[in-house]
């Protein structure tokens, strides 16, 4: 009896190791991991030089890990076990209630000097461009309006501290849109995605409403056709956790019933479309790219309005869901993502007859961004 058992155990153990090894070698390499949003390492070529420098070994180890059979399943299983142990903080992501995931952003992560630098740059930009109407709209991270859904006692950075710094530092030359009370009033609605760090189209709509309200304009929801674009979106925060029973997010599209015709030119006119929505992106993992086709260094929307209003937006990806609401307000809307923009901003501003500008950032991105100082050094 003992003999049979021991033989079985020994053979099973060795066989399982061999099966894994052979499946790594024999199954065709996967090139890209959607969940990780990165290219995977494929089988490296061996060379004497790489072996003696150790580079081959490093690449080879990454290759084995990246091509491990059923890799995502193993990781999901790890998440299962961690949750079984009561962990609500996995891979820098908080597992909140009602299926909400939150970015873990703590006091330790907050970089005061960097924020101050960004504020100073904007101040400088505002002073130089005081002939134009300027606006700044900062979007809180979901953990502020939805703090009731955070795990109990979870340490989190007090975003209000950063908001206070921004709004008290920037003078009257720049209109400040504080959307926190608005979002707080609607916190029971679907204003942030559960599995992604972005705000929903409703959240963006509320932000737009608040901006218009401060300018004396009334926005009515009945002016829009709201359609459900997808109901199985699993966003960036899901990708960090890979929880098996993850919530599925819905993406809605808001079309204004009476809207001017327009065209969108991406990246200095390299490509052109007639819609701000890219429904083909809904077939991909990162479905948030349905808005403006993702992030571009530059894009320009020209409408058939003739109101001489030319807006320039400095933004991060939070603006992508927001910009479609501006279509019926401007003759042209110029959008610059400073993280990728490499051109001459001065020329850009004067050539496009900019009359207004808007800074639209998520608070966390705004605190951590290192490309904003570019505009202060014009």
């Amino acid at each position: 009896m003992k003999k049979i058992y021991e033989r079985t155990a020994a053979i099973l153990f060795l066989a399982s190791l061999w099966i894994v090894l052979l499946s790594i070698f024999l199954i065709k390499d996967k090139e890209y991991s959607e969940n990780e949003n990165r290219y995977l390492t494929t089988k490296p070529d061996i060379s004497m030089e790489d072996v003696s420098s150790g580079k081959f070994m490093d690449t080879f180890e990454t290759y084995l890990n990246d091509q491990f059979p059923l890799r995502d399943k193993w990781i999901a299983f790890k998440t299962d076990i961690q949750r079984l142990f009561g962990k609500t903080d996995i891979n820098g992501t908080y597992l909140g209630s009602d299926g909400y995931l939150f970015e873990k952003w703590t006091e330790n992560d907050f970089n005061l000097e960097n924020l101050q630098k960004n504020i100073d740059s904007i101040k400088k930009f505002v002073q130089i461009n005081n002939d134009k109407k300027g606006t700044i709209l900062i979007v809180p991270t979901s953990s502020l309006p939805l703090q009731d859904k955070l795990p109990k006692n979870a340490p989190i950075f007090n975003q209000n501290k950063a908001f206070d710094m921004i709004y008290s530092n920037l003078g009257r030359d720049c209109e400040q849109i504080d959307i926190r009370p608005m979002l707080d009033a609607h916190k029971s609605e679907y204003i942030y995605y559960k599995t992604d760090h972005h705000w929903t189209t409703l959240g963006a709509y509320l932000g737009y409403t608040e901006w218009q309200r401060q300018n004396g304009n009334l926005v009515e929801l009945s002016d829009y056709n709201v359609t459900l674009a997808t109901s199985d979106f699993k966003g960036s925060l899901y990708s960090k956790v890979l929880n098996r029973n993850s919530a599925l997010d819905e993406i809605y599209i808001y079309d204004k019933i009476q809207q001017p015709t327009y065209k969108v030119e991406y990246n200095f006119g390299k490509t052109q479309t007639d819609s701000v929505y890219h429904l083909e992106r809904l077939n991909e993992k990162d479905k948030y790219q349905v808005f403006l086709n993702g992030n571009f260094p530059e894009l320009t929307i020209s409408t058939d309005l003739n109101n001489e209003k030319h807006l320039l937006i400095f933004k991060d990806s939070f603006a992508n869901a927001f910009i479609p609401f501006l279509l019926s307000d401007y003759e042209t809307i110029h959008v610059i993502d400073l993280r990728y923009f490499k051109g001459d901003l001065n020329d850009y501003i004067s050539q496009n007859n900019i009359t207004e500008y808007l800074f639209l950032y998520n608070i966390k991105n705004f605190c951590e961004d290192t490309s904003i100082p570019m505009i202060g050094s014009l």
Binding site: G86, N108, S236
Partner: protein, 468 residues
């Protein structure tokens, strides 16, 4: 290569075991030697030559000691061997430490060498020294076959992190050993237990420690500081003993029997007992090759105290080229002296629970000294543990961390206890054998699968915002 990696588990290990068992016994030491070289070269191709030098050097020394008829010659050779080994160790491990201190004391400006520490050097130099010294003491005869000796020095199971296998422990097994299927299966079990301890327990409880020390130590409340120190105590135990389990398991898989390296250290009821249970192969080594030659406890109390301080200063220094390790060693030296002088007698009369708490208290504090190389951080942390920083008893984060880790902490406590001698173990052992066997197999399969999921999970590297 480390054991807890995909490349070791799924490429090296199956290939090695298969070739090892296909080949006849005569070739097995050669295969073990070759495999060990590949294992070592995977990480550091260049440093392989230091290890080979060490091998040839002490192989020759061993033979010369045995061959020479003159006692003085023998003595000279053994001294050459010790000096040779210590020079290699000191050069690679301690050069920068000495340079830094010389620069500090003499106000000089000598450049640091910034050498990468060759993996396992602290272990294999101690092993080869044990060999020549034991040949000199006529405890073992010199190894004639250089392949067998090379297999001993480079043996991959214990190469990276011990245990320090003294030559005499496995001298016979090197020349002739009997691999059995029972030994192989026992080896698998030990290996899986070790892997589980390392990747599932140690790495995760280590996250708690890292979270706690990532913040400002001056605002750490008492409870958080203690949770942190306790989690580090568990991390280091499960990490290190897990590694020893894997080493012992791998040894068993190929017919070697290493001595145990850990024996439930956290159930100890005195510091003296703790060190009989913690890193046994190291304390045995120091006892046998330093403490006893210095005279041990046989030459009066004063000499004994001196010897203890020397041994524990060196023990600390062996753990790392930094002052905090020396202090850590001396801290234990002092505690052991106090216990020898009078404390053990008092402890005998106190309740076991108090003895246990006393031991854990000083052991946990010792790990704080061990954890930080920077003295100010040690001071900050210890202040936090005793509330001297006035940061309060606990805060919301304490509660949050507890809610996230309480289960893991409980499991750590349970796994630190000695279950083998309990009634539960006896009960399980009395059940029908085949049920036990297959239940055990399932259990180990589960542990293995969980470990792999954590191993693979750690390589998960989402890159979320940019793609170029």
């Amino acid at each position: 290569m480390v054991f807890s990696s995909t490349v070791f588990l799924f490429l090296f290990l199956p290939t090695f075991l298969t070739i090892y068992y296909i080949c006849p016994s005569k070739l097995r030491n050669a295969i073990l030697f070759t495999a060990s070289l590949i294992f070592y070269a995977w990480e550091e191709p260049i440093y392989i030559f230091i290890m080979l030098f060490s091998t040839i050097f002490d192989y020759a020394n061993g033979l010369l000691i045995e061959k020479s008829k003159n006692n003085i010659t023998k003595r000279v050779i053994v001294i050459i061997s010790v000096i040779g080994n210590l020079s290699i160790l000191c050069f690679f491990k301690y050069s920068d430490f000495f340079i830094t201190n010389i620069n500090f004391v003499c106000n000089t400006n000598i450049n640091l060498l910034k050498l990468v520490l060759p993996v396992g050097i602290s272990f294999y130099t101690f092993q080869t020294m044990s060999y020549t010294i034991d040949v000199y003491r006529k405890k073992v005869s010199a190894q004639k076959n250089i392949i067998n000796f090379a297999a001993y020095v480079t043996m991959f199971p214990q190469l990276v992190a011990g245990p320090i296998v003294r030559y005499k422990t496995i001298a016979k097994q090197l020349n002739k050993r009997q691999e059995t299927i029972s030994g192989f299966v026992y080896g698998i079990r030990r290996f899986i237990i070790g892997l589980f301890k390392k990747v599932m327990i140690a790495n995760n409880i280590g996250l708690l420690w890292e979270t706690i020390i990532a913040g400002n130590l001056d605002t750490l409340p008492v409870a958080t500081a203690w949770i942190g120190a306790i989690s580090f105590s568990f991390q280091i135990y499960f990490d290190f003993s897990g590694y020893s389990d894997m080493a012992i398991g791998l040894g068993e898989m190929i017919g070697f029997h290493f001595l145990e390296n850990f024996d439930h250290p956290y159930i100890a009821k005195s510091i003296t007992e703790f060190w009989r249970r913690w890193h046994i192969s190291l304390s045995t080594w120091f006892k046998e090759y330093i403490y006893i030659p210095l005279g041990g406890s046989r030459k009066g109390m004063a000499k004994q105290i001196r010897n203890l301080l020397i041994v524990w200063g060196i023990t600390g220094f062996w753990h790392g080229a930094s002052w905090n390790f020396i202090f850590w060693g001396l801290y234990f030296g002092f505690l052991l002296i106090i216990e020898k002088l009078f404390l053990l007698k008092i402890l005998e009369k106190t309740k076991p629970i108090l003895r246990h708490l006393y031991t854990l208290f000083f052991v946990i504090i010792s790990w704080v000294i061990f954890a930080f190389e920077d003295m100010t951080q040690i001071a900050q942390y210890i202040k936090a543990m005793f509330g001297i920083n006035q940061a309060g008893m606990f805060n919301a984060e304490t509660l949050y961390l507890l809610s996230n880790y309480i289960l893991l902490l409980i499991i750590c406590v349970l796994l630190s206890m000695e279950w083998q001698k309990t009634r539960l173990a006896a009960l399980l052992a009395s059940r029908a054998k085949w049920v036990r066997s297959y239940f055990t197999m399932l259990l180990f399969a589960a542990l293995f699968i969980v470990s792999i999921s954590f191993l693979i999970g750690d390589t998960y590297n989402p890159f979320l915002y940019f793609r170029f």
